[in-house]
């Protein structure tokens, strides 16, 4: 195992297909025990997983857990560390760079005009929901377009990341979208009564006095 950053586990992991949303957490951040408070109860084989992430594993110790299970623990631990790191100044800088490059995708809403988005979790607890994307222009949350990005746990980014991001970088916040879709039928706006259900239409018709039927016109 070399010490080169290019061959580190963190670099390898972030380059994996489907992990494009992750940024590379500084090793110094992970080495600070303060930043890992309470994570040991969330991850099996915590100590070994941490050694995998920091490339401290000496090699073929026979008492180590099976490779796939250890790899899964390392990935989960890295995700939980990542959720904390991206709330720091350094993490926000790295995520700002990815945001400006459009690496998180664009808003699917037509009138947001391809506004870049940020990843957001709906829960801070792992295993509850997958990562979503937050659009700062329409202030709404969407399912990522590429299915490979939907496979990440939302807790690896956290519920508060976009809001911390824009508090730290208010200049990066775009103006809110003012353009709204106005439904039109042959050029005319749709009256709200057109959105009634069949049951409501029936009720209105039966309440009309006999002899004065004036049903709304239908195509």
């Amino acid at each position: 195992m070399t010490d080169s950053d290019e061959s580190s586990w963190i670099h390898w992991f972030c380059k994996q297909r489907g992990n494009e949303f992750f940024c590379e957490v500084d090793e110094e951040y992970i080495q600070d025990k303060f930043n890992l408070n309470f994570l040991d109860s969330n991850v099996k084989n915590y100590k070994c997983a941490l050694e995998v992430i920091l490339d401290l594993n000496p090699g073929s110790a026979s008492e180590d857990p099976a490779e796939p299970e250890l790899e899964a623990s390392a990935e989960k631990l890295y995700g939980l560390i990542h959720a904390r790191f991206i709330l720091t100044n350094r993490g926000i800088e790295l995520m700002l760079d990815k945001y400006n490059k459009g690496e998180f995708g664009t808003c699917p809403r037509a009138f947001c005009h391809s506004q870049p988005v940020l990843p957001i979790g709906l829960s801070d607890n792992p295993g509850e929901d997958m990562v979503r994307i937050y659009c700062p222009k329409c202030n709404d949350v969407y399912i990522p377009k590429a299915s490979r990005h939907s496979n990440l746990d939302g807790a690896f980014f956290g519920t508060g990341f976009p809001h911390m991001f824009f508090m730290e970088k208010p200049d990066a916040r775009p103006k809110r979208a003012k353009q709204k879709f106005v439904p039109r039928l042959y050029g005319f706006k749709i009256h709200p009564t057109a959105y009634r259900t069949a049951a409501e239409i029936q009720k209105d018709v039966t309440m009309t006095p006999v002899g004065e039927i004036d049903s709304p016109s239908h195509i």
Binding site: F111, V141, Y142, F181, L185, E200, H218
Partner: protein, 172 residues
Amino acid sequence: MSSSQNNNSSWIDWFLGIKGNQFLCRVPTDYVQDTFNQMGLEYFSEILDVILKPVIDSSSGLLYGDEKKWYGMIHARYIRAERGLIAMHRKYMRGDFGSCPNISCDRQNTLPVGLSAVWGKSTVKIHCPRCKSNFHPKSDTQLDGAMFGPSFPDIFFSLLPNLTSPLDDPRT
């Protein structure tokens, strides 16, 4: 400019089979042939001949290039007719147009919508009846929005009101 090696398909068969054209439904040839449905569309008889020919092959020679546009404008009219609405309803229920990307809409099925009735303005979008917003389709389709028109979702739900529910309408 293209030629088909398949001797068993019509132009419409070939066109609907192109990847990225899944949103389109098949317009019956009798609808295309009815001159009332062609009212106001500029066309050359050669284009109509290509579209209506039951079998195309390499001997069809040069295609005139506007078949796609002409079929698209007829398609925009057909999907407002009763037969077209029934066909689009089937596609809507199957989820052919994709689902709403907004997480609040719980993968609501969507409908195609154009932002303009004029050809060449913008590509087709999908309309969610729950949040009433328009989105870029997930599949990378390049169909023109005029092939569906801006009125289609409201025509669809006006004629099929049972598909909407008070719980889905934020205005109620």
